[in-house]
Amino acid sequence: MRLSRASAVLAILTLYLLHNNWWSWQPDFTLLFGSIPFELVYRILWVLVSTGVLWLVMRGWWRQSE
């Protein structure tokens, strides 16, 4: 799978919007698996998705020189 330049920009903007989730900054009392705060899980999942985007961006933009 390769990202076009427009898709890469769109993916980065979407990640940026998801980072700015100031509407849900109020404490969420949910503990996932009974012990992990929701906010922490949300951020780690965000990093996981962003790593995927980094991989796709790199695959698309570095291909001509490798």
Binding site: F29, S35, P37, I44, S50, T51, L54, W62, S65
Partner: protein, 486 residues
Amino acid sequence: MNSFVLLLVFGLYILTLVIIGVFSYRRGMESAEDYFMAGRSFGTFVLFMSLFGTNVTAFALIGMPGIAYHAGIGVFGYFGAIGAFVTPLSFILIGYPIWQLGKRHGYLTPAQMFGERWQSAAVSYLLFGLLLWYTIPYVIIGLMGGGIAIEALSGGAVPYALAAGIVAAVTVVYTSLGGMRGTAWTNVFQATIFLAFLIVACIGISAKLGGIKLLHTRLVSEAPQLLGNQHPRLTPGIWATGFLVGPASVIAFPHMFMRLMTARSPKALRRTIFVYPWGLVLLYVPITLIGVWGALDIPGLIGKESDKILPMLVERHLPIWLGAVGLAAILAAVMSSLDGQLLTISTMIAVDIFPHKAYKAGPRIGRLGVILLAAAALMVSLFRPAGIFDISVYAFSGYTLIVPVMAFGLFWKRSTATGILIGSILGHGLLAAYYLGLKYPTFGTFPVFPCLIIESAAVALGSLLTPPPAQEVIARFNHPFNLPDV
């Protein structure tokens, strides 16, 4: 803390650094390329640990838990998560072309590379001056941080001046001996220490406090505000532009810029970029949790008192020897950045000021530079200049303004030296004016945000109003992503 255990761990730590420095000196060759760039030979492991160790400062181990103590788990998103994306992204977009150009043309410093990009000595000297201006306070802060940490954690047994002197002397020994190779391998050792310490401390403290499940159930009932973001200064505008001051400016740190150019191959660089976000997660998750748990275990700390929450929890719940390792970890974070900064500034002085001598006498000039700089920084740090810690936000913002210069140089063929000079002077001038008291409207964002827009617009306008660069210059800096293999 038991002074024998402290001295033993501290001594072992310093001895290891010196041994690595001597070993690197024996292995290295007396050439500028080898001393300043380690022959551009680093594979994934050394490259990652070297970049990571250089990037992480004592703030992560001292300041961050203190902030999480008051503000809650939400700060992980602001300091950790966004950095885990933006910094590697800048490595992909800007770091990779820089690596290619460095490998192809033998560049050693940012001023050298971008001075040639626009065939302009003025651009080269401007970049040199700006990078020096923003980096030197960090060297002083690093020495002060090391001195304060040792004095505090040794219970005053090692006074501040002696502690700062020891940090400076040891860093000078292994940096001047080993050059880039020496500092990279010491960074491997140092990053291993502070990362391993944090993970062990996190597991140990949570076990002593009843386990993660109990701790977080207590959090819901006793301090639910810490489950979100409660930092009064993290408003939506600051949150939205926070990535500019820190994560996005990392690529413009001269010590990071130069380390990126030491990659052996695109494969090493690519793998490093994929590991990088998870290194930051491994660092910032324990740091955040320790800060928040500290609020449950030792409530009531006011303001900066919470900066000591990590050492307080370690002393209260973990064995003495681990406390001593904790001190070594803080020193590791201090020195792993300090060595990179010292080496980088000495490289810049050798290459950008004495370009004709740098390639012949580079290592000698570099060593002399490291010693003189460290001595000067130590002298200043002994006076503990007030307000120097406030300079850090200004310096980070200044680095941020150098990122567009790099981007214009790499991606906009039409950009000209005049445009870059006008834009840089306007942007950096406005930023300095803000911190000197001219409080222009920032619309709830970081002060650097308006400067960034004005700088970029001025570069664009100035470039379009001046004749385009010569074709052969543009060809030399051909669109980086289209460059063939090097």
